[in-house]
């Protein structure tokens, strides 16, 4: 529950800020210096407990600080572990509230006053935890993650923002998080201290304590107007993970419902509202101009381009991305690395709210990448917002509702006349039930009103100009970093290994490839077809025919996978006019012979490539295989000469 906290601070009693110390002089110094730098209205005593630190410099520094009277220093004669140490601190003054503060944290401003105000807002509050960058369910910006502090937002600025945006707000949680935990004395008196027998070295003790407290009716709050920086893992280093696993097992022995409790909280995530309030303020205060991308959720090359472009523009712009969440909804997300801001609108009902929201972000420009899957209302955005926009064409959607200029069987349709297209739409209707003329009028207007229509190839521009001649086209091949694909060159061992790249569909030539492999088997040709990727449906494969698939892959693995296959040739069996082809970019840097259809972007992208062979997209498979066999002979000959020369 989000709670508005009424101030009822009992400011006369003293709060003990207990800081157990074991390792890390630099972190401990930063922590204590931050605590001492900000006087609080609440009376407090800083109790530092040196748990027999193995770092003499740390112990010496603490002793020096204690001599000034700034802190109360307790020293354990032997190392007693985190939990015993904390318990010693809590026992020290049996009438005081306490704050357990890890020595690798940093605080800012009137942090303690704000925590205390939250803790005093209800008699049944047991504990209060602030937001932090590294605090599992209290983490910000990303929930349940170890985040760096957001770029341009150091602790002081961020904490001030929380204090301003989330003043007095809190949500109830199933457990506190121990890096910074305010515990009321009432709760300690009812529930007792941490269980040092079970959780001697730390991790999990605060969760078990909270579960005990919940059993007798106490609540645990996330205090949304305080942010405490937490480095994490200083005292235990790499042991942290193992300690967490062990702690979880011990909690589950006592409280078998613990994980479901946490799981339910994470699914519900009531603190999301509070995190989003901070995000929105940070976004609004960013000095970078904003661009809103509009795209689909189908993944593939469009998604890759959108993500690449967002990353390239990130230093100069704030990029927001609008996507469909269904036929009647859209989401708008902040595409900056390390942010999780996302909002949802139902469309058309919430369309006015969506407009208000976009206006509040001061979006300066739109960039449409795709509109498939979006509610038709979204097409009105540029006009309703009166904003300039670009339109990148990733396929032929504005002129072909099937988006690839192909028949149902995946073969290039040859771009028939209006009757031919309407016949196609009878079989496979367009989105929003439009006929081809209305469709092209609607989307053609969107193209002609755009500042720029960005195409990745000349072929695409030529094709599109036939249908939307008034648009302002510019050719911008997709941005790609310099690629290297090391392929060991060796003479073919009597058989030509032909590599095909990417997820194969009938449009991408799946059936054509299968037909080539069948022909190779029937004519006993020395050819083997290997696909790095997978097929979207069942086809015949090895051992029946010389064709096999490696399975799905990540783009980043592709150079390694190509090299490992040691192919002799790369083949593109596509049956539609490709608009760019990312996989061709990888093939071009291998130096291997490439066979591709004389269709779409292939012709121009391979024009200057010395080892390119272009075939008609619908050339008979026998012609295709005959070319491969002739290439086998030339490849064998040239590589043999090369090895002789070597």
């Amino acid at each position: 529950m989000t709670t508005d906290i009424e101030s009822s601070t009992n400011s006369t009693s003293v709060v003990d800020v207990i800081i157990p110390v074991y390792r890390g002089l630099a972190e401990t110094r930063r922590c204590l210096e931050s605590v001492l730098a900000f006087p609080q209205r609440s009376a407090c005593e800083i109790v530092v407990i040196d748990d027999c630190s193995p770092e003499p410099e740390l112990s010496a520094w603490l002793s020096t600080l204690a001599e000034t009277g700034a802190i109360t220093l307790l020293k354990n004669p032997v190392n007693t572990g985190f939990v015993n140490t904390v318990n010693r601190g809590m026992i020290l003054h049996s009438d005081r509230d306490v704050v357990l503060l890890n020595s690798d944290t940093e605080v800012h401003g009137d942090w303690l006053d704000r925590l205390r105000r939250c803790a005093d807002s209800d008699a049944m509050i047991g504990s209060v935890t602030p937001f932090s960058n590294n605090a599992t369910i209290c983490s910000y910006p990303c929930f349940n993650q170890d985040n760096p502090l957001p770029e341009d937002w150091p602790l002081a600025t961020l904490d001030r923002l929380l204090a301003e945006v989330n003043t007095g707000l809190a949500v109830e949680m199933p457990t506190a998080v121990g890096f910074c935990m305010y515990i009321r004395r009432d709760c300690l008196e009812e529930v007792g201290y941490f269980d040092a027998l079970i959780f001697k070295r730390g991790y999990g003790e605060e969760n078990e304590f909270c579960l005990r407290a919940t059993e007798v009716g106490f609540k645990h709050l996330l205090c949304a107007d305080v942010f405490v920086y937490h480095q994490g893992g200083v005292s235990f280093g790499e042991e942290t993970k193992a300690l967490c696993v062990e702690a979880e097992q011990r909690i589950l022995e006592r409280y078998p419902h613990y994980l479901s409790l946490i799981g339910e909280y994470c699914a519900r995530d009531p603190a999301r509202v509070l995190r989003r309030r901070i995000d929105r303020f940070r976004l609004i205060r960013s000095p970078r101009p904003r661009i809103l991308f509009i795209t689909h959720t189908w993944g593939g090359g469009t998604e890759k381009h959108v993500c690449d472009l967002a990353r390239i523009l990130e230093p100069i712009f704030e990029i927001m991305i609008l996507r469909p969440t269904g036929p009647h909804g859209v989401s708008v997300e902040w595409a900056r690395n390390g942010e999780e801001f996302i909002v949802y609108f139902s469309v058309p009902y919430d369309y006015p709210k969506l407009l208000d929201f976009i206006r509040s972000l001061e979006i300066a420009r739109l960039h449409i990448h795709h509109v498939i899957g979006l509610n038709r209302q979204i097409l009105q955005l540029p006009q309703d917002l009166c904003l300039p926009y670009d339109f990148t064409l990733h396929d032929y959607y504005p002129i072909c509702p099937q988006y690839t200029l192909t028949f149902k069987d995946g073969r290039y349709c040859g771009e028939p006349d209006v009757d031919g297209c309407n016949a196609c739409l009878t079989e496979r209707p367009a989105l929003w039930g439009l006929d081809i003329v209305t469709w092209r009028e609607l989307l053609g207007k969107l193209l002609s009103d755009a500042d720029r229509v960005i195409v990745a190839s000349q072929d695409m521009e030529t094709r599109m100009r036939r249908y939307a001649p008034n648009a302002h086209y510019i050719k911008l091949p997709h941005p790609e970093p310099a690629l290297t694909v090391p392929v060991p060159h060796a003479p073919p061992c009597g058989e030509l290994k032909i590599l095909v790249l990417g997820r194969l569909t009938p449009i991408k030539g799946l059936y054509r490839l299968e037909a080539c492999a069948i022909d190779a088997r029937l004519r006993s040709l020395p050819l083997f077809f290997r696909v790095i990727g997978h097929a979207d449906r069942d086809v015949r494969q090895e051992p029946e025919i010389p064709l096999s698939f490696s399975g799905p892959y990540n783009d980043i693995e592709l150079p390694l996978l190509i090299g490992r296959e040691r192919p002799d040739l790369i083949f593109f069996p596509a049956q539609c006019p490709e608009t760019y082809s990312y996989t061709l970019s990888y093939a071009l840097v291998t130096g291997l012979p490439i066979v591709a259809p004389r269709l779409g972007a292939f012709s121009e992208r391979l024009a200057d490539y010395p080892q390119a062979w272009l075939l008609d997209w619908d050339a008979p498979v026998t012609e295709c295989n005959d070319l491969f066999v002739s290439l086998l002979e030339s490849v064998s000959g040239s590589r043999a000469e090369a090895s002789d020369d070597a």
């Binding site: 989000t2 009716g217 941005p479 970093p481």
Partner: protein, 189 residues
């Protein structure tokens, strides 16, 4: 095309945009906009205030009843709904009674726990005090031990000096003669 070249070409027409944004105004957004549609978490209900709840109901009505009027068949369903709600109310009353009993039990349990906690806290404080006393005792004993070690070293040094002295060497025959006399006087000799 390299990313750098692309960026250059991409921002050409609107380079003046960079650095022109002034901080915008804070526009409140109802909390349910932050959750995906049809997600099975009731967080919206947890965090909604009355206005937000009304807004949400209006939106549900707009989707479920776009015609904004009730059909006759829908209206006839209301007595049935009312009956069901009454049944539910009776069920909740029974549940309330059960919860009251449960509360009584928990209060008893809580009192018991409180008493246990007081006892354990007292024991813990006692152990802590004892541990601190023992630590002090240990420190005192370690100090004493150091003093004894020093004393032993001093005595050993004195003994060595004595054995090296001329008087010790001169009286050596006398000590030998003494030992012989004692041996002869012994009952077994």
């Amino acid at each position: 095309m390299t990313p750098e070249d692309y960026l250059q070409r991409y921002i050409e027409p609107f380079q003046t945009l960079a650095g022109t944004v002034s901080p915008g105004d804070w526009q409140p957004l109802a909390s349910d906009y932050y959750y995906p549609p049809h997600s099975e978490q009731g967080s919206g209900l947890d965090t909604l205030n009355r206005t937000e709840l009304l807004d949400m109901l209006q939106r549900i009505l707009a989707i479920e009843y776009p015609q904004q009027r009730l059909a006759k068949t829908t209206a006839s369903a209301f007595p049935e709904v009312l009956r069901r709600l009454k049944d539910e109310q009776a069920g909740w009353q029974t549940e309330m009674k059960r919860l009251e009993k449960e509360l009584e039990r928990l209060e008893e349990l809580s009192a018991q726990r409180r008493s246990d906690n007081e006892r354990i806290t007292a024991e813990l404080i006692e152990h802590q005090t004892e541990r601190q006393r023992l630590a002090v005792e240990l420190e005192r004993r370690q100090g004493e031990s150091a003093v004894f070690v020093n004393e032993i070293s001093t005595l050993r040094a004195n003994l060595a000096d004595l054995r090296k002295s001329t008087s010790w060497k001169l009286t050596k025959p006398l000590r030998w003669f003494g030992r012989m006399v004692k041996a002869m006087q012994a009952p077994d000799a």
